[in-house]
Subunit: 522 residues, 2 copies
Amino acid sequence: MKCERFVVNAAGRRVPTIVNGKEMIPFQGIGKYKPGGRKYAPPIPSCLDYPSNGDKTLDSLEEALKRCGLKNGMSISTHHHLRDGDLISNLIFDIAHANGIKDLTWVPSASFPCNEPLIRYLEDGTIHHIEGSMNGALGKFTSYGGMKGCAVLRSHGGRVQAIQDGEVKIDIAVIAAPSADCFGNATGAQGPSACGVLGYSLVDMMYADKVIVVTDNLVPFPCMPFQIQGNYVDYVVVVDKIGIPEKIISGTTQLTKSPDRLLLAQWTAQFCAEAGLLRNGIGIQTGAGGTSLSVGLHFHEQLKNNGWKARFGFGGSTQYMVKMLEDGVMDYILDAQAFDLEAVRSVKDNKNHIDLSVYQSYNFHSKGNYTSLIDIVILGATELDTQFNGNVVTHSDGLLLHGIGGWQNCLHAKCTILPIPLFRDRIPVIVDQLTTLCGPGELIDVVVTERGIAINPLRKDLIEKMKNSSLPIVSMQDLKAQADAICGVPDKAAISDKDEDTVAVIKWVDGTVLDTVKRVLV
Amino acid sequence: MKCERFVVNAAGRRVPTIVNGKEMIPFQGIGKYKPGGRKYAPPIPSCLDYPSNGDKTLDSLEEALKRCGLKNGMSISTHHHLRDGDLISNLIFDIAHANGIKDLTWVPSASFPCNEPLIRYLEDGTIHHIEGSMNGALGKFTSYGGMKGCAVLRSHGGRVQAIQDGEVKIDIAVIAAPSADCFGNATGAQGPSACGVLGYSLVDMMYADKVIVVTDNLVPFPCMPFQIQGNYVDYVVVVDKIGIPEKIISGTTQLTKSPDRLLLAQWTAQFCAEAGLLRNGIGIQTGAGGTSLSVGLHFHEQLKNNGWKARFGFGGSTQYMVKMLEDGVMDYILDAQAFDLEAVRSVKDNKNHIDLSVYQSYNFHSKGNYTSLIDIVILGATELDTQFNGNVVTHSDGLLLHGIGGWQNCLHAKCTILPIPLFRDRIPVIVDQLTTLCGPGELIDVVVTERGIAINPLRKDLIEKMKNSSLPIVSMQDLKAQADAICGVPDKAAISDKDEDTVAVIKWVDGTVLDTVKRVLV
């Protein structure tokens, strides 16, 4: 059985304490669980096992995987900096399949539509399960119970926490790198498949037993400034092409043109101004969705008009954020992910566009996180309940279609604001019971919809500041009633409620199990 | 007893297998010892134990040390980037002493004359022993048997190996930082006490249980570009002054004016040219001593005249190396240590002056080292024997006066050249029996003296290339005979040969014990 020994956790959700044969700790409430123990300790290597001329290149990824001892049951990690243009992740499993390897765990930092071909390897048992995210087709496949094991979904910060803590042991990390030298120093900033930064791979580099760098742009030693450090790298493989540049650009980084979304953005910006959240020296994370980008434009304008500067903007970085930097209304971009080519260029050109791994900034099992220093963070959700609890991974029909990304991590910001439409395709976003709980309501501060803005009752300070606002401040109950009046109360989705139909678990930032995803029945 | 269970190691030296109560492995020959086991695993922290506003500042170093649980028997580490201008290291032990703490181990990356006041704490038992280097007065004190425990000397690379492998557990790392933010992000590149880089502290930051950043220049979050990552930092302490800028400049970075030394430099450069070692795309490390700097000037000129470029120069960096970079005859400076203010400026100004920790480049228990990729390295020695074995820590009178620095690590370069005078103050440099063995002769390729150049018989390739040279190529035996003829055979130094008089051990780069230092009797 994929999941065993279910208990009800502190969020009232029924969760397993054994997943894929490994013990898990149920969610104990925000700020309640403290880890014991020590970080994962990789084997001590020796220079004696590496060529003294520094040349670690091998002829093929297959040879590299074999030299790393690829075998049944291993965990293989990859990054998603090449986004939907990634040509390497699937190749790993083609090789594994061709060599008859079974029961692998794939630990990507995120997955994309380009990974759809991996479904056949999930079907034939080459891949046992995924620990990461399952977007689109992979998610649908998972939802219908196709995966041999139970998927484990983590936030970006949760992924590095899990690897650091040894919750997930990475046997082999494969790092696709837009430029690398023969020793394994690598960077995403340059090369024909440039993707800006490689920050999601830092934790894999540090903790994986074996590390393979795959590049299509071998440069003379030393590849500097480095992002990946060659002294952690076992092998370097040169291939023709690691990525399709035009698909490295995220599809999400287009400004919205929808009048409703533009209204959400405008109200969000106005809310921030009126509540005194927007100020000189602020730290912000606006995200890359169409509405979020539009909020960012409003912030840019307001900062400029007031003669203010944002102290830092958190990436994923976009052309709009780069404009803020280059326009002098932002001191630093702290960036773990470049969303478009302007951002890629900026990593290379701007000294203050900082390559900053999520390992450094989002890991809850760290000596502090950057997330709690961000003043305003703009996030989305697929569902919210009236207690402000949020879902980002499943839709109301039960289908698992998105990863958690940095969403859970960013909930720790000083003010989290969710500009979301009240309904999508006549499906209300505000529901009685979340399909999947991804973030406890006590961390979500403001919900901005086109029919009113709800402030979390816990944020008395914001309620007080907005009491004379011209903005339509309402309650979540009001919003829900409006949505129901328009859409009607939707039918119950055809989702199993049986323990044995658990297809995925949702981890919280501290490694505990917050909720499960159940099999979709029709 | 400080040292127990002596055996004769593969270098023929009698060494203890228990030092300060800890088991040690005797040297087994170059490339013979491979580590088992896993890297040291620090405790898993949690954000819950750190302020969510990111402000880790405390009022005093004393408070920070107390909060870190300072107690008898702990190991405290510091870096030496502030060189002889360091105002923080001694302060730690003043505080420990005032609080009655005993039996500490001090693990500096190097010590300087400014650390002489620590002798009183070695005398009164506040400090049990030092693992690092003991220069000048501290070394003399150690040589006469003053230290309670046995000193352990390691190379820069050996220090990071030992900390990474858990051979030395750092309880508290104190990192003096020329600029830092309240979260603990820090850099040496800016501030009134700027020292360029902080690379020696990277391993302390990663592996110490507790990390304190001490700064005299608190900047708004985020302190970027970072060298020290705040997510590893427990506390930040702001003091008036961490260093005396004019003493941060090393005393060693002056060009030699001695005609003999200038001859050594000229012959060294000529040797490199004639042997075909100097070429386009070369990697070099010339060091910061007067003769080495002069060799560097010759290289600069020759590269320029030939229209060649060095691909990289390894730091410690100096104004002369910066000139090579800015003059376009060097692509990159890879730097763990800035030796003068021009180098400090360059770290800040030049994108290709790379902050590169010895942890990344010198650690023998890594997946390869940069050192073996360096084409020419220029080093010194206090003594050599006719088998090319070298000593850098003691003088022939037995006094321990220098640290190993990066010397052992750099011996792994493709060609190691030691330009040294045949005698100093009428004491021959080439001896029958080394006072202390620091580096096996098989790794030392060429010795350049003012009376001839000896090539290691193992380097048949170099002997062949130089067979028609106008340079005076001689044997080490010849050189020794010349020195003896001029100086006479010196009296035997008054050094104990008893096991119980072991005052220090010399570690090799792989963590094994290469030799001991004995008590000086008069």
